[in-house]
Amino acid sequence: MSAGIDWRAMVRHRFFYVPVALAILTAGWNAYVAAYDDGLIEGEVHDAAGKPIPGATVIFFERNFVNYQEKFRATTDAAGRFRFTDMQVHIGQLEARVEDGRRSERFQMNLWFRSQNVQLPPLVLGSPRA
């Protein structure tokens, strides 16, 4: 009776290649996560005409089980850009406000993993809210 292991047959077996494929996928995903998990959330604030708004306040709302509460603030630079750093979140909402009372719609942000670096679409200021 031969005691040798048929490696070729073993490699071709579903119970071998399916877990191996899953392990490779998991390793690849983890490598991607490790490369893009600095917690950078970046974007721009525009008015309705597409003009960048410097000095606007961007508020990040963190989810609190049933609602969203204000957690962080950032201010846009001369080019209308804002940036949050070290954000340990995977979900949240962002809203831009300016001193004259104009606000953007709240942007619902869903990320694929916590601390994902993300470039958001522009937050567009609307008319002042009552």
């Binding site: 579903r14 995977h90 979900i91 869903n110 694929w112 993993f113 916590r114």
Partner: protein, 270 residues
């Protein structure tokens, strides 16, 4: 003679399969859309599907901890089953005094529901000092009577002459089991693995009783905890259900051929 067309039979099978799969489809659809399951009229196709509910589950609860606990307990149960059921199944193929009574005892034990034996099982686990441990959770599933009979049926199908030849060659009983019986009983092994996996993976009552801390909870307990703690998380809840189901489905799909062969082995003569 003209053969009857097969399409009516296939149509009926497709209809039955569709009916069986509808609940599962609904769970997956709800996990992808997060829509209220009581919404009327119900939407058949998912609208704006996304996978963010799965991300939510991953971070809202200690999913990896629950998954690890379930994997450890299931691995222990499978190993225990293969070891003890092989030994018991092989013993039952032998002739020994009161063999019929032992089989009768096994069969009658199958009639007693597990709920009726929970208190003694808990006391034994407590005396062994393995409450709130992986071994304690796996203990009642380390050997199951149905699987013993699956092995018995499979071993009985092996020709006696093969075993006699091995014995003449000087193999011990254990080596006969490991080198001859088990390689010829792959469907029985697959059946054992799948059944134990499903039972252990879905076990709820025993882990609920035997665990005392949250970090020892398994996936079904985590699901109950998720239900009791979270609000307004329809999508996440169903995503969690899918994440609990997927490993069992994957194992079954990978081994369904052996599983069905194992369950039907011994069903026919010859």
């Amino acid at each position: 003679m003209r053969r009857a067309p097969t399409w009516p039979r296939h149509a009926i099978m497709v209809a039955v399969c569709t009916l069986m799969l509808i609940p599962f489809y609904w769970v997956v659809k709800t996990s992808l859309t997060g829509e209220n399951i009581y919404a009327y009229p119900p939407r058949i196709l998912p609208q704006d599907p996304h996978l963010f509910s799965y991300v939510d589950v991953w971070y809202l609860i200690p999913f990896t901890r629950y998954l690890l606990n379930s994997l450890i307990v299931t691995a222990m149960a499978i190993c225990g089953n293969l070891l003890f059921n092989t030994a018991a199944g092989y013993a039952l193929t032998k002739d020994f005094p009161a063999k019929r009574w032992v089989i009768l005892l096994f069969l009658s034990c199958m009639l007693i529901p597990f709920q009726a034996t929970i208190i003694p099982a808990y006391l034994i686990t407590s005396w062994l000092g393995v409450l709130n441990t992986h071994l304690g959770i796996a203990l009642p599933l380390l050997s199951t009577i149905i699987c013993i009979f699956v092995f018995k049926a499979s071993f009985e199908a092996v020709p006696k002459s093969l075993i006699d030849a091995a014995r003449i060659d000087g193999l011990s009983e254990w080596r006969i089991v490991v080198r001859i019986m088990l390689p010829l009983s792959k469907p029985a092994i697959a059946t054992n693995v799948i059944l134990t996996f499903i039972w252990s993976w879905n076990a709820f009552m025993w882990p609920l009783i035997v665990t005392r801390t949250a970090d020892m909870q398994t996936l079904p307990l985590g699901l109950a905890r998720f239900l009791s703690v979270m609000e307004n998380t329809t999508g996440a809840l169903y995503a969690f259900v899918v994440m609990v189901l997927v490993p069992g489905l994957a194992i079954f799909l990978m081994a369904q051929k052996e599983f069905i062969r194992g369950l039907t082995s011994g069903a026919t003569k010859g």
